[in-house]
């Protein structure tokens, strides 16, 4: 009985650590200039995934190749709109690490709500926390093996 309690406590502490510990894996900001030419057309961005490091100065030149498209950056709450033949530029400092969805912000046709891309700034800590939590849960279920342990109920 005591062993089970201890195991649960260890597991719980590990889970809390994985979920909330303020890991600081990001390198000191480098202020590198990152310039992307992103073509928007046919409900997709090309390139669709942009990689930068925390602290980089990002410039996105949005080129609409068919109709008017926009580009909204989740988490940064920034957006830009480009008309065909008139590229638009969005500049910002990537000061928040993580993965952020890019979404088209102008209704551009049927698949518009699903026109997405990604901005990846450094390490995606959230993803690693998620993987860590899932693995811990797996470990917990394997080691605390008595069936029907009250995890859910």
């Amino acid at each position: 009985m005591k062993r089970i309690v201890v195991s649960w406590a260890v597991l719980g502490a590990a889970a809390l650590l994985v979920a909330f510990a303020p890991f600081n894996l990001q390198p000191v900001t480098s202020n590198v200039e990152r310039i992307f030419r992103v073509e928007a057309g046919d409900f997709a961005y090309s390139p669709a995934v942009l990689h930068v490091n925390p602290g980089d100065n990002v410039t996105i030149k949005l080129v609409a190749t068919d109709v008017v498209h926009g580009l909204y950056v989740d988490g940064y709450d920034l957006s830009v709109i480009a008309e065909p033949g008139q590229p638009a530029v969005l500049s910002f400092t990537a000061d928040r690490p993580g993965t952020f969805r890019l979404r088209c912000s102008v209704t551009c046709g049927a698949l518009h709500p699903f026109m997405t891309g990604k901005l990846k700034v450094g390490t995606n800590l959230l993803l690693w926390r998620g993987i860590g939590l899932a693995l811990l849960a797996f470990l917990g279920i394997l080691t605390l093996r008595s069936p029907g342990l009250p995890i859910v109920h």
């Binding site: 997709a44 979404r103 698949l111 998620g130 693995l135 279920i141 394997l142």
Partner: protein, 468 residues
């Protein structure tokens, strides 16, 4: 805990008017969705039909109604309502009882006196959810078009309504809901997880009740529209929570219990291959949509959208292969591996069906995580569509000009990770419990571990698709 102990709840549920009123409002919304789809703007994100059905209704259904109320939506769903009214010859209660539930006390010349429902029994060989699995897949294959084109959404919704009316006139009870509705199928599957249930209080009371009015009907209500025999009910899957048995039971023997989440998953009885396949279909569809609709791959989106073209055929073929063969095949292998390492004497097929119920919480979590990524991001469309439902430049409530602004964009990925990890834990515990039904503790661990690894792999894949 029985909610019907509270007189207010009991009155509100037993009385037909609250339910009828909500159903009418839902029917009005449904008809507006069809009309705006047909006659409003063809721009999906500006059309009430698309925005209300695929953002507002979908969000409420997948994130609130199904997880917490199970088939709660079915109890007020407007789609079967017109057919049911015609079948019964009444809008409300049966009043004077007659065994077909229609006829006698109707005004001459009303539509009810003209329509003669046949009230046939649903064919025995289709008394399962294979047809429902089929109708879901049919809708799912065209989803990129249905989700985005108002006309198509309108036609699909109208088709549901006409099919429901037609089926109601040929077959007895709610055959459409129970055996055909593509939505009803997965709501039923996931209603096993809900923390509420309709059950009888004491089956002994039912045993001594000769008339069985909960199934046959009485002056106070209709015999179970879902063709379920309430005293024999052990799971939520096919109970439409329509409250008829509450109205027809003369012994006050119906309860609405608050119970632990997922209680039905540990019910050994009535586990079936068609339901197992429902679980695979839903799990696979969540993964496919997360890849195709939410991924950064434009070519995949276009393939899913270009119905009839070669890329679409390839998409459809891979979709069906993945969902109907690859995923169940992989799962079969994991169950087989569990049998090998545990030395369990249980036939693989039996374990396969039983263990697939662990995929029910996994699937609901996957759908919740998938829905989270577009529901909040696009919720501002709801405000605009409410004010200008047809996209004709109206401004009924002054919110037509609301520009698209994602809500909770920074928070969504955290919620998704939480939901996915929670779903994995729930699935793993369920798998272990199911394994322990027919094995001792040590054997159950070995039997279920490959299945748990399968669930882990699925969870990590989805996490990669949604938040990586």
């Amino acid at each position: 805990m029985n909610l019907l102990r509270y007189p207010l709840i009991k009155t509100l549920l037993k009385n037909r008017w609250p339910q009828f009123t909500i159903m009418l409002v839902a029917l009005a919304g449904f008809l507006l969705a069809v009309l705006s789809g047909l006659f409003g703007t063809p721009v999906g994100s500006r059309n009430f039909g698309i925005v209300f059905v695929w953002i507002a209704w979908w969000a409420i259904l997948m994130l609130v109604a199904v997880p917490f109320l199970g088939r709660g939506w079915c109890s007020i769903c407007p789609i079967p309502a017109p057919g049911e009214w015609l079948q019964r010859g009444k809008l409300l209660g049966p009043g004077e009882f007659n065994h077909r539930g229609h006829g006698e006390n109707q005004k001459k010349g009303s539509v009810f006196s003209v329509v003669k429902p046949l009230n046939r029994r649903w064919p025995k060989r289709f008394r399962n959810i294979w047809l429902q699995n089929g109708t879901f897949l049919l809708v799912a294959l065209f989803s990129a078009v249905i989700l985005t084109q108002p006309r198509v959404t309108a036609i699909v919704l109208a088709a549901f309504l006409f099919a429901a009316v037609g089926i109601s006139l040929i077959f007895e009870r709610r055959a459409f809901c129970r055996y055909l509705c593509p939505v009803g199928g997965f709501i039923g599957l996931y209603s096993q997880l809900a923390p509420v249930e309709v059950r009888v209080v004491d089956t002994a009371v039912c045993a001594s009740h000769v008339e069985k009015t909960c199934y046959t009907g009485s002056v106070n209500g209709y015999g179970c529209p879902w063709d379920v025999f309430p005293p024999g009910m052990v799971k939520n899957t096919y109970c439409g929570t329509c409250m008829e048995c509450l109205r027809t039971c003369p012994h006050d023997n119906i309860a609405i219990n608050i119970r632990p989440f997922g209680a039905d998953l540990s019910v050994e009885r009535n586990r079936k291959l068609d339901e197992a396949y429902k679980a695979f279909i839903m799990l696979g569809a969540a993964a496919v949509y997360s890849t195709v609709l939410l991924g950064p791959w434009g070519a995949l989106k276009l393939a899913a959208y270009s119905v009839g073209g070669l890329p679409w055929l390839a998409y459809a073929a891979s979709f069906l292969t993945f969902i109907l063969l690859a995923l169940p095949g992989l799962f079969w292998l994991t169950v087989w591996a569990g049998k090998k390492i545990s030395g369990s004497a249980l036939p693989v097929k039996e374990s396969f069906v039983a263990q697939s119920y662990a995929l029910v919480p996994l699937g609901l979590a996957a759908w919740a995580a998938f829905s989270l990524s577009f529901v909040f991001a696009n919720f501002s469309y709801v405000l605009a569509a409410l004010s200008d439902p047809l996209g004709w430049g109206w401004d009924l409530i002054g919110t037509a000009g609301v520009t698209w602004t994602p809500w909770l964009a920074g928070l969504t990925p955290f919620l998704q990770v939480g939901v996915l990890v929670g779903g994995f834990i729930w699935a793993a515990v369920t798998s272990r419990k199911i394994a322990a039904e027919k094995a001792d503790s040590a054997q159950a661990v070995k039997l279920s571990t490959p299945v748990i690894v399968f669930c882990l792999a699925f969870t990590l894949t989805l996490m990669g698709l949604l938040v990586a």
